[in-house]
């Protein structure tokens, strides 16, 4: 029996018991308690009937830098970060164009790599103005968060992997070199050993 089934059984039992009390018990206080139980049981059953999604903390995916063979693999890692830890897909769409923020279809061919890096690490520097709403001024700006700071806090390697993904999915050549991926603890080292 799954957790949902168990809770549904409990909910149904509470509603059933409440109904039986209302049918057969005359004591008014007990009847009111039964009525409240039916309402609460019913509410729980409704809540159990809708999609059950828990919000899990982002998994700490460790990518073995040494095992990355080519740029395509780096882009694939970037894709996972884009839809996972980076939470980019929470606001940005790719191709559907119905998101709150700029659609990223073909973004890799529109923007340079450095521009993208700046957009992620200093989002208010330029990009926001480029995406200013037409018409009346916004009461509050929908600010793009600093991706390299908390709460998202992607590392430099992870940001480079995302850029590789954006370039790759735009049909562009990935300009992030594997040698740029830094080994944690020894910045600048050309040797690729460790995790992203």
């Amino acid at each position: 029996m799954t957790e949902v089934q168990l809770l549904q059984t409990i909910g149904l039992s509470v509603v059933g018991l409440g109904g039986a009390i209302l049918l057969f018990v005359k004591a008014r206080f007990v009847r009111v308690v039964a009525f409240v139980s039916i309402v609460l049981g019913g509410f729980t059953l409704v809540a159990l009937s809708i999609p059950q999604m828990a919000s899990l903390p982002p998994g700490v995916e460790k990518f073995d830098v040494a095992s990355i063979k080519d740029k395509k693999e780096l882009a694939s890692i970037g894709q996972k970060i884009f839809f996972g830890k980076g939470q980019c897909a929470l606001c940005h769409t790719i191709g559907t164009g119905e998101g709150r923020c700029p659609d990223l279809k073909g973004i890799g061919s529109k923007l340079t790599r450095d521009f993208m890096y700046e957009s992620l690490t200093q989002p208010q520097a330029y990009v926001y103005k480029d995406y200013e709403h037409v018409g009346p001024a916004k009461f509050f700006p929908a600010k793009m968060p600093y991706i390299n700071k908390k709460p998202i806090g992607l590392s430099k390697n992870e940001i480079l992997a995302v850029i590789a993904f954006l370039q790759n999915m735009s049909g562009e050549e990935v300009t992030v070199e594997l040698s740029e991926i830094e080994v944690p603890g020894s910045a600048g080292s050309a040797s690729r050993r460790g995790v992203l």
Binding site: G11, V36, G41, I50, P57, L90, H133
Partner: protein
């Protein structure tokens, strides 16, 4: 050494000389004191004698993991504390307003009602403090790292909180125990005490609000004094929206709990006098609950705007992410609350005002249909639960027709319409059984009809127009205009109706105490809905932080760093609501043990008063 001490010594000597025996209770008390000293002092002594163990500080402790778990335990205790706090902060507002109405109208029923509810405060206050203490100890024990951090930031406000508690306690004692002695010439001072009680209660509410809102929208500064840092953290972006939202919600809670209590007592009433009294009390409770409920959606709307302004991701997590279905449940609960409140008004028209049934049957039916349609729109989800095949047929998860109703433009429109319908239910109840005599009454009625009609059209047009403008235009201009139009209706029709009815002739006397039992159940249902809503939105507020204790500052690294799915959470909400209802019932019962004379149960004198006019519409 003063004379007082020597006098006591001399007493003791006399007692010893007379061979008096120390009472057994006192012996136990001394024994308990010695035991406590020993249990406290022994570990302290041990700690004094040895070095603190080396190693990292404890971040989390757990209680019966897999069975209860620290997070669930905190959830239950915190929720009970918060609901009780809402109750003890809502009741003084409710009681004070009733007391003022009593003084203004000269109707002693209001004073008695106010006193009856203030009587609850002493026991409810102690229970709230008890749960607050339990919560604090559990938080310190189970989440030491988080509590240490929060103490670092907020220590000055802890001190302020203590002082506020002292002031509140003293004022409450004076307010309650001085009720009978402060009548007549000193009634004004008693009202002032009630005012003070509410001022302190308000600050007692907003200080811990700052701790909770800081966790969601922290403002951390490293420079400045301890007070400066605490003040910056207190005045965080969501602090005031939550303060306003909770203040209004507490009034609603106080009103509907009063209604539920009256409903229960009405069902259990043994005499006609009791039925008359509790029927009237149920009306007043429902009226105050509905009155508070009308601005509540807009306070919530403001809070959400602030959340979006602070952090777009948090806003999306709430409204468009894993919590989006929660708002369908919220719509369901608020919809039922609207239906329950209106249903109670309609029953009042049908039963308390004989002969009104035929006249109001059709308008009531129309209102019911409008409310149900609005509720249907409000509950329409933006994206539907569909299998892959169904989604393919629909061309996505948005239903081609229903998908149009699942967006904010439609929802804001129906919320405003529902509020207008509820308001008109009240106006209808107010007018029932009266005939206008003023020469301009007909013109006033036409004017009211025009205001209502035009306002409804404007709200609907803006709602439809909202689909064709950028979201930000809709949020900033259209939705705001809809609210202003709705408020305009409330603020014009209310005084106009009052003026027309001032000279009106009563054609049918209102009869109290003959409502059917289902009216009492409607009152209980309304209270349950409000409590459930508070538990639901508490879960939403807490879950919007996702895996952070303090959003973006301190991550939750415990095994409970996840938000459970809605079904599981709803089971907890139901459990918490049930426990709270039982506790409130217990508090009411305990308060009733104090004797009918002191608290003021219904008596014959009050039955005579029952035919006198009450608040607007209660007549």
């Amino acid at each position: 050494m003063g004379p007082h001490t020597s006098h006591r010594r001399s007493d003791n000597r006399q007692a010893r000389q007379a061979g008096a025996v120390v009472p057994a209770t006192r012996v136990w008390a001394y024994a308990a004191l010695v035991f406590m000293l020993f249990t406290v002092a022994a570990p302290l002594g041990l700690a004094w004698g040895q070095e603190a163990p080396a190693g990292p500080a404890t971040e989390y402790r757990d209680i019966l993991p897999g069975v209860v778990g620290s997070r669930n335990l905190i959830w239950i205790i915190a929720q009970q504390h918060l609901l009780l706090a809402g109750f003890v902060l809502g009741v003084p507002i409710f009681a004070w307003v009733c007391e003022i109405v009593g003084v203004r109208t000269g109707d002693p029923r209001y004073d008695t009602l106010a006193k009856e509810f203030t009587k609850l405060l002493t026991s409810a206050y102690a229970t709230t403090a008890l749960f607050g203490g339990i919560l604090l100890f559990l938080l310190i024990g189970l989440y030491p790292k988080l509590m240490s951090y929060l103490t670092d930031v907020f220590f000055p406000s802890f001190l302020v909180y203590c002082v506020l508690f002292l002031l509140e306690t003293v004022t409450l004692y004076l307010y309650w125990y001085g009720w009978d002695s402060m009548q007549g010439a000193t009634k004004g001072f008693h009202l002032f005490l009630g005012f003070l009680l509410n001022v302190f209660a308000f600050f007692i509410m907003i200080v811990p609000n700052s701790w909770a809102t800081f966790q969601a929208s922290p403002v951390v500064i490293t420079e400045g004094s301890m007070w400066a840092r605490a003040w910056a953290a207190t005045w965080n972006p969501t602090w005031w929206p939550v303060n306003v939202h909770r203040l209004i919600a507490n009034v609603v809670l106080g009103g509907f709990i009063c209604g539920a209590y009256a409903g229960l007592k009405y069902l259990m009433a043994q005499s006609k006098e009791e039925r008359v009294h509790y029927d009237w009390m149920g009306y007043v409770g429902n009226f105050i609950g509905v009155f508070g409920m009308l601005p509540l959606p807009f306070a919530g709307y403001w809070l959400m705007r602030e959340v979006y302004q602070y952090n777009q991701q948090m806003g999306i997590t709430l409204m468009g992410g894993f919590l989006s279905w929660l708002f369908i449940l919220q719509a369901m609960l608020i919809g039922i609350l609207f239906l329950g409140a209106n249903y109670y008004f309609w029953l009042g028209i049908m039963y308390r005002i004989p002969g009104s049934e035929a006249k109001y049957r059709k308008p009531i039916l129309a209102m019911l249909v409008i409310l149900l349609i609005c509720l249907g729109v409000w509950m329409t989800p933006h994206s539907l639960v569909a299998s892959l095949e169904e989604a393919r047929k629909m061309g996505g998860t948005h239903h081609p027709m229903l998908g149009v109703l699942g967006v904010m433009s439609a929802k804001m429109t129906v919320v405003n319409v529902m509020i207008l319908v509820t308001f008109m239910s009240f106006v209808m109840y107010w007018r029932a059984g009266k005939q206008e005599t003023a020469t301009w009454a007909k013109a006033a009625k036409v004017g009211q009809g025009l205001i209502l009609g035009i306002a409804t059209v404007v709200i609907l047009v803006l709602g439809v127009w909202g689909y064709f403008v950028p979201a930000i235009t809709r949020i900033n201009y259209f939705s705001t205009t809809q609210v202003l139009v709705m408020l305009f209706v409330l603020l014009t029709i209310t005084p106009l109706t009052a003026l027309v009815l001032k000279s009106a002739k009563t054609t049918t006397e209102m009869v109290w105490g003959i409502m059917p039992p289902r009216a009492a159940y409607a009152l209980v249902l309304n209270a349950v809905m409000v409590i459930l809503l508070m538990t639901l939105m508490g879960y939403a507020r807490s879950s919007s932080r996702v895996h952070w204790h303090v959003y973006g500052v301190m991550q939750d690294t415990s095994p409970y760093a996840y938000s459970p799915a809605l079904g599981y959470a709803a089971a907890f909400m139901s459990l918490n609501t049930f426990l709270f209802c039982l506790m409130v019932a217990f508090i009411f019962w305990v308060a009733s043990l104090g004797g009918e004379k002191k608290g003021g149960a219904p008596g014959k004198a009050r039955v005579k008063e029952a035919v006198r006019p009450a608040v607007a519409g209660a007549r």
